[in-house]
C-alpha cells in the first residue's frame, strides 16, 4: 500500500512524467517518507549531498550565510517542488543550508543509490539528468530575475 502511494506520487509528478515504469519503480525503491519540524535544517552547507526531496507539504528555505552578515533566504521551495540537486554533481556536497520554515513532509530519494544506478544505466542517467537540468534551469532563471532587483531603486 505504502509503495503504491509512493509510486503514484512519483509517477504523477510533472518532473517524472513520461518516465519508463521500470525507472519509476527504481525511484520508488530509493524513496522514503520524511518529516521535518519547523526550524529544522534538512542539511547544512558543506555536508555530503546524498539525497533529494520531493516536497509534499510545507516550505523549505534555502539560506546563505554571507560572512559578517545575517543569514538571508534566497529562495523557498514548497509543495510539489523538488529540492536539491547537489547529489547529482560532484563533489556531492551541499552549497547552501536548507531549513524547514514550517512543518514539512517530503519524499526523500536516495541520491547515492541513484547515482550508482545512473553510472550502470546511462539511459536512466540521461533521463534523470534531463529532468534535473530543467529544474536547475528554472532556478537559474529565477535567480537572474532576482538579481534585477525589480522593485528596488535602480
Amino acid at each position: 500500500m505504502e509503495t503504491q502511494t509512493l509510486e503514484k506520487i512519483i509517477a504523477e509528478h510533472p518532473y517524472f512524467a513520461g518516465l519508463e515504469p521500470e525507472y519509476t519503480s527504481l525511484l520508488v525503491g530509493c524513496a522514503s517518507n520524511v518529516r521535518f519540524d519547523a526550524g529544522r535544517y534538512l542539511w547544512r552547507e558543506g555536508e555530503e549531498a546524498n539525497q533529494f526531496y520531493l516536497i509534499r507539504e510545507g516550505r523549505v528555505a534555502i539560506e546563505m550565510m554571507p560572512p559578517h552578515r545575517k543569514a538571508i533566504v534566497v529562495e523557498t521551495v514548497g509543495e510539489g517542488e523538488i529540492l536539491g540537486w547537489s547529489w547529482l554533481l560532484p563533489p556531492y556536497t551541499w552549497r547552501f543550508h536548507a531549513r524547514a520554515v514550517e512543518m514539512t513532509r517530503a519524499l526523500a530519494l536516495d541520491g547515492k543509490c541513484l547515482r550508482n544506478k545512473c553510472e550502470q544505466n546511462h539511459d536512466l542517467g540521461y533521463e534523470l539528468l534531463k529532468r534535473f537540468a530543467q529544474i536547475i534551469n528554472h532556478r537559474l532563471d529565477a535567480t537572474r530575475m532576482q538579481l534585477l532587483d525589480l522593485y528596488g531603486k535602480r
Binding site: 528555505a61 538571508i72 514548497g78 509543495e79 510539489g80 532587483d149 525589480l150 522593485y151 528596488g152
Partner: protein, 281 residues
C-alpha cells in the same frame, strides 16, 4: 475662474483626510473635496490615475488605489522617491493637494465578469490593482475565482499586508505573495513572482489576468501566462511613462503610436506584446 471646473489642466483643491504609512517609504493618502462641489464627488474606474499637484513643487501621476464604490473620497498610495513625492507624502491632515483627473483607461472589470480574475502585482504595482480587488470582492457572485499574486522586494516593502491576509480569507480567493529577499525570520515565500504560478490551477480559457509592476516583471509574467495557455487578449498590463499633462497634448508619455495617459495606462497584451520587447521605444 468658472473655467477651473471644466479645464482638465486646472488642479482642484482636495484636502488630506488621513495619511497612513504602508512601508518605510510608501504612504496612502485619503483625500476629500474641500469645496464639496460637483467636481468633488470622486468616481473613477479601477486602473485610472490622477495628477496630484503639490503647491509650488510639482505634479505627479498617481494611480487611484481606493474603493471605486466609495463616493466623495479619493485614495492614493505614493512611494517617496524624489522631491515631489517626498513633498506629497509630507502633507498633514487638513492640507490641500491639487487633483486633476481621473484620467486614462481602466482595467476590464466588466469584461472579466463570469471569469476567474488573476491579479499579478509587483511592488507598489498592487496599488492600481486594489480597486479591482475591492470591486470583485464587493460583487463576488459576478466573478469566478480571484487570485492575487504579489511580489515585493522584501517583507518590509510589501504594501497592504493586513489586507492581503484578509483577502485570503474570502471565499474562492487565493493570495500568494513572495519576496526577492527574505530574512531568516520571514516565514513566507522567497523567489520571483513568476515562481508563484506553479501553485495555481489556471483555467486559461476563462481567466482574465491584470498585471501591474515594473515593466520587465510584467513582460516576464505575460510570457509565463502565455506559456500557461492564456490568450494575449485576456492579459492586461498597466504601463508607465512620463506623464505631464494627462490629456495627450504634452507628448511626453508617447510609446510608439500610443499616449500612455489617454490610450492607456491599461493595455491589452495583444496590442502591445511586440512593443514590450523594444528597448528605448
Amino acid at each position: 475662474m468658472a473655467n477651473a471646473e471644466i479645464d482638465p489642466m486646472m488642479p482642484r483643491p482636495w484636502v488630506v483626510r488621513r495619511i497612513s504609512k504602508e512601508t518605510p517609504d510608501t504612504f496612502t493618502l485619503a483625500l476629500e473635496p474641500s469645496d464639496g462641489g460637483p467636481s468633488g464627488r470622486g468616481g473613477f474606474q479601477p486602473g485610472q490615475f490622477s495628477m496630484l499637484w503639490v503647491f509650488g513643487v510639482g505634479e505627479l501621476p498617481i494611480s487611484i488605489s481606493g474603493d471605486p464604490a466609495e463616493e466623495g473620497s479619493l485614495t492614493y498610495t505614493v512611494r517617496s522617491v524624489g522631491p515631489a513625492t517626498q513633498a506629497l507624502v509630507s502633507h498633514g491632515a487638513g492640507q490641500s493637494v491639487g487633483v486633476r483627473g481621473p484620467f486614462g483607461t481602466g482595467w476590464p472589470v466588466a469584461g472579466a465578469e463570469g471569469k476567474d480574475v488573476v491579479v499579478v502585482a509587483g511592488g507598489i504595482g498592487l496599488a492600481p490593482l486594489r480597486p479591482v480587488i475591492y470591486h470583485v470582492l464587493r460583487h463576488r457572485d459576478r466573478f469566478g475565482r480571484l487570485v492575487i499574486l504579489y511580489g515585493a522586494r522584501s517583507p518590509r516593502d510589501m504594501i497592504y499586508r493586513k489586507e492581503l491576509a484578509a483577502w485570503a480569507r474570502h471565499k474562492d480567493t487565493q493570495v500568494l505573495s513572495t519576496v526577492d529577499y527574505g530574512g531568516v525570520a520571514w516565514r513566507g515565500r522567497v523567489g520571483v513572482v513568476t515562481s508563484l504560478f506553479k501553485y495555481l490551477r489556471l483555467q486559461p480559457a476563462r481567466t482574465t489576468a491584470m498585471l501591474c509592476g515594473p515593466e520587465i516583471m510584467m513582460r516576464l509574467v505575460a510570457r509565463e501566462l502565455a506559456a500557461r495557455g492564456l490568450a494575449a487578449g485576456d492579459v492586461y498590463l498597466s504601463m508607465e511613462r512620463n506623464m505631464k499633462c494627462a490629456v495627450g497634448s504634452c507628448g511626453h508619455c508617447q510609446w510608439g503610436p500610443h499616449f500612455i495617459c489617454k490610450d492607456g495606462p491599461v493595455f491589452s497584451y495583444a496590442h502591445i506584446a511586440a512593443m514590450l520587447d523594444r528597448y528605448e521605444l
